[in-house]
Symmetry: C2
């Protein structure tokens, strides 16, 4: 039995706080630090921010370097932005302080193609210290990339892969509803698409990760974002959507191989979605189809993944450096930890 793994939580927003609640309740872990850029959180006990009763004895600070230096954290749980260009600097500081990094940053899930320089820098810093840095989550990370990659192992030949995820935004955070365009006019939607602030980040990373698993060289990878308009009046919490206003977004990434669109990832995030689900379809020999009624819950399952992967990141045998969800044994046999997994 290892002594409790010491975690530092960098970013305690909605998902970060949910991770804190899970980690705080698990004796395998000990929370030793918490950092958030929000000045309203600084100086308060982490329990208060995370909605837990009783103090955790961990004060949230805005000073990452001091927290790294003073906490002795073995793993940093990073849950802040989606864009690697903005997040790389703090991630590098965590690695240089000798911590592993487990992050929900979407672009970190498979950064090699779009951010090769940052990927190499993160990889180099992590390797130099025998540490790992991993971007994880349900999407990207599990549903549209790891799972189809694994299911494709059951195919002698893969002709095409199509993954579809339909999320009912009515059941999700207002912040997410807003980010997917709910309540906007068509003109506002177009403007936000143009400015790059609307929609889900990570669909392209999923496509790149999946294509790499399949050994496919894509000659084109294009992303389309179209508004889904409300067919009727919709109420979702404080939101009131009139018919013809935007109720959500349909986002499609298509990968072309040898001139043919063989890879398609479709994400529909909309208020009042009639049949939320995840669906994976692999055309091939044999064909493989998987349907997840209701879909795998984005926030809750992402928080669960982060918690479960903390010991894996620190102890599982395998490569160090910048890794993806495909590079580690995610559920290694119990007992192997102690045999072989010296914390790296």
């Amino acid at each position: 039995m290892n002594s409790p793994l010491r975690t530092l939580h960098l970013g305690v927003g909605a998902i970060g706080a949910e991770v804190v609640r899970l980690v705080a309740a698990d004796p395998r872990f000990r929370i030793v630090g918490a950092v958030d850029v929000d000045p309203a959180k600084a100086g308060r006990d982490l329990a208060e921010i995370a909605g837990l009763e009783g103090p955790l004895g961990v004060t949230v600070t805005a000073d990452l370097d001091a927290a790294l230096r003073e906490s002795g954290a073995q793993v940093v749980v990073h849950s802040a932005g989606s864009r690697l260009e903005r997040e790389a600097a703090p991630l590098l500081r965590c690695l240089r302080a000798g911590a592993h990094v487990l992050s929900t940053c979407e672009e970190l899930s498979f950064p090699w193609a779009r951010h090769p320089d940052l990927a190499q820098e993160l990889d180099r810093e992590a390797r130099a210290r025998g540490r790992r840095v991993l971007g994880t989550g349900v999407n990207p990370g599990l549903v549209m990339d790891l799972l189809p990659s694994l299911l494709a192992l059951a195919c002698q030949r893969v002709d095409a892969v199509r993954v579809r995820r339909v999320v009912d935004l009515s059941q999700r955070r207002p912040q997410l509803q807003r980010k997917m365009g709910a309540g906007l006019s068509l003109a506002e939607f177009e403007a936000e698409v143009t400015s790059g602030s609307l929609g889900h980040v990570g669909l392209v990373e999923s496509a790149l990760m999946l294509a790499d698993a399949l050994g496919w060289e894509m000659d084109e990878l294009k992303e389309e974002m179209t508004p889904v308009l409300a067919p009727r009046h919709i109420r979702a919490g404080p939101l009131r959507i009139a018919p013809g206003q935007v109720a959500g977004v349909r986002q499609v990434v298509t990968g072309t191989v040898g001139g043919r669109p063989l890879l398609e990832l479709e994400l529909v995030m909309v208020l009042d979605a009639s049949e939320p689900h995840d669906a994976i379809e692999i055309q091939g020999v044999p064909p493989v189809r998987a349907y997840f009624p209701g879909g795998i819950h984005g926030d809750r399952a992402t928080a669960a993944l982060v918690k479960h992967l903390l010991p894996t990141l620190a102890y599982a045998p395998g490569p160090v450096g910048l890794v993806t969800m495909r590079d580690l044994p995610l559920t290694p046999r119990r007992g192997r930890d102690e045999e072989e997994g010296t914390p790296r």
Copy 2:
């Protein structure tokens, strides 16, 4: 780019031959040996046995040791019996000759609990030489163990797991139909269940592998086998089944944790199954359900898995020794091979 991986095929029955066809068609591999206990196969070219056109230049032999010695095989593909007690001896010989072993032996998929001595011996021999031995397949190996283990990572809390696999035997080999009892009388069925010759091997191993992934200590694990009777006349190839005769088997493994049946794996293999499918249901927070219409084809997907995992077994970073489907990164990022994966 590694030079082609040299494979030796031990057992070229239905699945073994299908693997040969896949491996022979893939330039990443070079078949250097073939062994089968069937004297009718000895002395013939492997292509003939596997139903391929043109000779492969590999003569099937019954002499495993000579084949190991002369072939220089790096990986042995083992596809013979389901029972580890019978298969362990040849597997050990392969390991001692310095080869990795990739096997469809069902009891090898998770042998630690039921065959601890053999498991330890295989592990020791493999580790001593830096080799790996892995039992793989669709079931056990993927559908009822690895996949639910991975999906459970999306759950903050797992209350119960139920996996159901319904296979339409009408679409499968006569040998398999017969092994599942199709065509027997009720009395014959009971006699074969008692003698241990009827039914699927590996359901218990799947349950053990899954329970280990969940961190569940089971206080009981019981297996039940009940006949499924033909409701009407059924024709399947040469088989004629009268109403009331056995059309297949329903096999259920139930794992009890803290006095409650929290783990249930159900396998129905029957002629004219009305809705073949695989279904994984995880009760928990959040719940996760997956439904595979048609189910993942047993033989075809097992052959595919074996082929895909050959390079993984030989080159992927991670532990050596006796490993399970949970211990290796099954779809490691391309490019990492060359960086880190020296053939072990």
